[in-house]
């Protein structure tokens, strides 16, 4: 009995020492993507960071976070706040790639309430590229866009008919 207690204590001690929240990643690419969203929802900054490759580049709606540090510093807090008040339901997902480089393409129906009480109801498109190191996949590129027409008009004015070049 005492031996089992010792074994249990050793187990607990080793796991507690060896698995801090940032030593993560996933063996299946889609699991890394889902774990990242779960970490955002739980406001677990370190867990979210643990799922990001140190070479991360983020494209969002036409702008860039060129480093993982830039994303973590400026943008991750906002993504955590958005995740806290919205629900991201997977509508479709495709996965591909081979070897140590994989991709996961997901469309989400995002619902919730904004700060002013107005509803969030949009489709968000997500491209994730994952890189495997040390047997674990981590996100090395994210790209989000939305079908929200108001935001599309705001962020891409050149796409509006008024801004189109005159016909030749």
């Amino acid at each position: 009995m005492a031996r089992w207690s010792s074994t249990a204590a050793i187990t607990f001690g080793l796991l507690a020492f060896a698995s801090p929240s940032w030593a993560q990643g996933a063996r299946i690419p889609a699991d890394a993507v889902d774990a990242f969203h779960a970490a955002l929802k739980k406001k677990d900054t370190a867990a979210a960071l643990s799922l990001l490759d140190r070479g991360l580049v983020v494209f969002e709606f036409g702008v860039v976070d060129p480093t993982v540090e830039a994303y973590a510093f400026r943008h991750l807090p906002f993504d955590i706040d958005v995740a806290a008040v919205s629900t991201w339901s997977i509508e479709s997902r495709r996965v591909g790639g081979e070897g140590n480089e994989r991709w996961v393409l997901t469309t989400y129906h995002v619902t919730g309430r904004q700060a002013d009480g107005s509803p969030i109801d949009q489709i968000t498109l997500e491209t994730m590229i994952l890189r495997r190191t040390s047997d674990l996949f981590r996100i090395v590129h994210m790209h989000w866009s939305t079908n929200d027409p108001k935001f599309q008009a705001l962020s891409q004015p050149s796409a509006s008919p008024q801004a189109a070049p005159p016909p030749k």
């Binding site: 900054t45 960071l49 140190r54 709606f61 702008v63 480093t67 993982v68 540090e69």
Partner: protein, 171 residues
């Protein structure tokens, strides 16, 4: 009896193997890290990004900054305090113990992703608890975020009620 002893030894061996494999994955995570180019952050870390078609209230209070200097090591030579330099979108003048119990996460450098808990702070110094280890490995200019989330991951932030309530700093 011998079989039982062998079973116990096998269990202990399995436990050690499991623990070591997890520990080694942690080490590999660190060794895989691409060295952080400070110039890159200086050039690119403050680009205004999009994604902002959704407007939400902050769910936690936040303080962002950069390590400006380190405090004095304790009698064992371990360091648990540093002088912050406020940087980024979430910072405010610190009041004594305002950040007590908040979660500190390193966002750059060798300790990227490492979590600490603030034990106390003054207007110019932040001290972390010893239970998550010392600050060894941090460098001046490493950036961090401190969030009003306790050690159990529970938000300590309650939005003020009523439109007349003054917003909390860091929100």
């Amino acid at each position: 009896m011998k079989a039982k002893r062998l079973g116990v030894q096998a269990s202990a061996g399995f436990v050690l193997t499991l623990g070591c494999s997890i520990a080694s994955s942690q080490v590999l995570f660190l060794s895989d890290a691409v060295p952080f180019d400070r110039g890159t952050l200086a050039r690119s870390g403050f680009i205004q990004v999009g994604h902002d078609n959704i407007v939400v209230d902050p769910t936690v209070r936040r303080y962002t900054g950069m390590v400006a200097a380190f405090g004095s090591p304790n009698a064992q030579g371990k360091m648990y305090s540093f002088v912050p330099s406020p940087v980024g979108p979430h910072n405010f003048p610190l009041s004594p113990d305002e950040l007590r119990g908040w979660r500190l996460t390193m966002l750059s450098g060798k300790r990227f992703g490492q979590v600490f808990t603030v034990s106390t702070n003054t207007e110019s110094e932040i001290r972390v608890t010893a239970d998550k280890g010392s600050l060894e490995g941090l460098d001046v200019r490493d950036v961090f975020i401190i969030e009003s989330v306790d050690a159990d991951g529970v938000s300590m932030f309650r939005p003020a009620d009523g439109a007349s309530a003054a917003p909390s700093p860091g929100v």
